[in-house]
């Protein structure tokens, strides 16, 4: 392949991904109300839907014994668009933020109050209404920084063919094999020769990689990396849109986006091809949809929750864990608020797709235990040594300047922020995952040091976009002129009543 070949491959893959995003954007009308308040988020959700449709197309074609390709996927997108139109959500009038306004029947009193507060207060907030020249310049600066961060990740991701070990050994190997065999060969899941490629992992990513290859007509592991900057951009749109809709000023939302785009511990050349970037995107999908569903912001929140659960469960086991945590949080919240019946649909939306995903995997590909962990260490001698090894290894990892600065900055954000239920939930989800990751090395078959050295950093890094959303949501009050919010305004920002 010549220079023109690489450029052409990049254009082809770029076009495939852009079209998938556009198709997903059309289908997203069934998941988010239309209107400017949801536009940025709809781009993010549209990207998720577009990729999911490519994956579903591959699965259905494999099941029917048809080779996936452009024609089946176009038909599939058309059918999905037609179906979504039947279930599309109403247009949200300009100026409405969708908090309690889009679905009056679903909106609870606090949520409705939040909607009123949002409408009445937001124009008074800094950076709202008629933005000053200075605010516009600062917004432009933040936007430029976000563009720079995205461009840098684009360069990192596309410098060379995807090279990370886990891509070669797990995600890329499976994807290339699915593409080459035009099916799911059982050897990947039952042959001891392929045990290293983790047959227990969800196969959403390999299906996606093969789906892009089927559309392209060849396996192209250099241009395929373009997926990853697209994931970053989708995460940024999602973050910006959700923060804006949930009360953050434009400048604050832009600042969060600008900072996240430069988080090289996640958006790195090494992690390109691996599951951390897509799962971090899925985490934000689950977190924001859960928060919206609990606040009953709009009629699409529960649908989004189901979609997010499917994406997260199908991407990585950490996604399944986060869905489980989200379900626990939802049930706890429902029990405390005595809204178990009202929240049953949301619980089903979380539980059903995750069950479907793991159930299908087990039925079709077999039941595989977690290869890296053995919880039998709990009852064996030497547990205390393992715990001590874990603590030492984690202390060694997290005392590096990059982690210390990140944790310090996060601590400052949390100190400056105020309680905001919609943001706090995201932090609870991230905190539960972090807690689990900190304990897991104790049970690692290859030893705590191995897990901490090779996995811990990237697993924790994947939580950062979710934390960014939660922590920024708590800062919204700082950028509001009204420093002594009324109870309704407090409810709008998730503040406790005085």
């Amino acid at each position: 392949m010549s220079a023109a070949g690489l450029a052409l491959s990049l254009c082809e893959v770029g076009a495939i991904l852009a079209l998938a995003g556009l198709g997903g954007f059309a289908v997203a009308g069934a998941f988010l109300p239309r209107g400017p308040a949801y536009f940025a988020e709809r781009i993010g959700w549209g990207w998720a839907i577009g990729l999911l449709l490519i994956v579903l197309d591959v699965v259905i074609c494999f099941a029917l014994g048809v080779r996936p390709g452009p024609l089946p996927v176009v038909l599939f997108f058309l059918v999905a668009t037609l179906i979504s139109r039947k279930f599309s959500l109403p247009l949200l009038p300009r100026g409405r933020r969708g908090v309690g306004g889009a679905a009056p029947r679903l909106a609870s009193a606090p949520a409705a109050a939040e909607g009123r507060a949002s409408r009445s207060e937001r124009p008074a907030g800094r950076g709202e209404g008629e933005p000053s020249v200075r605010a516009s310049l600062v917004a432009l600066l933040f936007l430029s920084l976000a563009l720079l961060g995205t461009a840098l990740y684009l360069l990192r991701a596309l410098t060379e063919p995807i090279w990370s070990n886990d891509f070669l050994a797990i995600w890329g190997l499976k994807g290339k094999t699915l593409f080459g065999d035009a099916g799911i060969p059982t050897r990947l899941f039952d042959s001891p020769s392929f045990a290293f490629s983790h047959p227990e992992y969800p196969i959403g990513l390999p299906l996606l990689y093969s789906g892009v290859a089927f559309l392209l007509g060849r396996w192209e592991d250099h241009a395929l990396a373009l997926l990853f900057p697209f994931w970053l951009v989708a995460t940024l749109f999602l973050l910006y849109g959700w923060l804006r809709r949930r009360g953050a000023s434009r400048l604050l939302a832009f600042a969060a986006v600008a900072l996240l785009s430069h988080f090289e511990q996640l958006y790195s050349s090494f992690l390109t091809g691996m599951a951390e970037v897509p799962i971090s995107f899925a985490f934000v999908l689950v977190g924001t949809a859960l928060s919206d569903a609990l606040d009953r912001t709009d009629a699409g929140a529960v649908r989004r929750l189901a979609l997010a659960s499917l994406v997260a469960s199908g991407t990585k086991n950490e996604g399944l864990f986060l869905v489980g945590t989200a379900l626990a949080l939802l049930l706890f919240s429902a029990w405390r608020r005595r809204t178990v019946r009202q929240d049953a649909a949301a619980a089903a939306a979380l539980f059903g797709p995750a069950l479907l995903c793991t159930g299908l995997h087990r039925l079709a590909l077999g039941n595989h235990p977690l290869r890296d962990f053995d919880f039998g260490f709990l009852s064996r001698p030497g547990l205390a040594t393992r715990v001590w090894e874990t603590i030492r290894a984690e202390a060694g990892l997290f005392q590096s300047p990059s982690w210390l600065v990140l944790f310090g900055f996060l601590a400052l954000l949390l100190a400056l922020g105020r309680r905001a239920r919609h943001g706090d939930r995201l932090l609870v989800l991230a905190g539960a995952s972090l807690g689990a990751y900190l304990v897991l090395p104790v049970f690692c078959v290859q030893g705590p040091l191995w897990f901490v050295t090779w996995t811990m950093g990237r697993a924790v890094g994947a939580l950062v976009p979710l934390v960014a959303a939660g922590a920024t949501a708590r800062l919204a009050w700082l950028f509001s002129v009204d420093t002594s919010p009324s109870p309704a305004a407090g409810a709008a920002r998730g503040l406790p009543s005085p």
Partner: protein, 142 residues
Amino acid sequence: MRSRRILLLVASGLFLAFLLARAGLVREITSRVEILRRFGGEDARIRRMAGTSAAYDRRFFEFLERARLAVPPESRGLALYAPGIPEWGGRYLAIYHLAPLPVAVDPERVPPAWLAVVYGAEPPTGWRVLRELPGGALLTPQ
């Protein structure tokens, strides 16, 4: 309120500066652009060979590519004997590069209709050389 905003702004600026400084921005951009300039025009396999995944032993990747081209289409799989090549840095790359052809590393028993490749070592007993490759050979059962 104002002081908190200023504190947040300053902290965010410092954090961003740290992120950018940590990446060694100018050096990184220069280096990556140079790699793209040098290899962007090359064949996909050359780009792979020049890249990080083949850095442990670039001759091994050349061997793999020659082996891939030499394997007859009717072959059902490949046994790989490359004792000097570690899992991370070579064996996984080999399995990936040869996919979808199944590859087993140092198998105790080789399935029927499979061939073998050996790199950096003598061919195991019971095999004869089908094709000499750089640094090794493609083998068939005797």
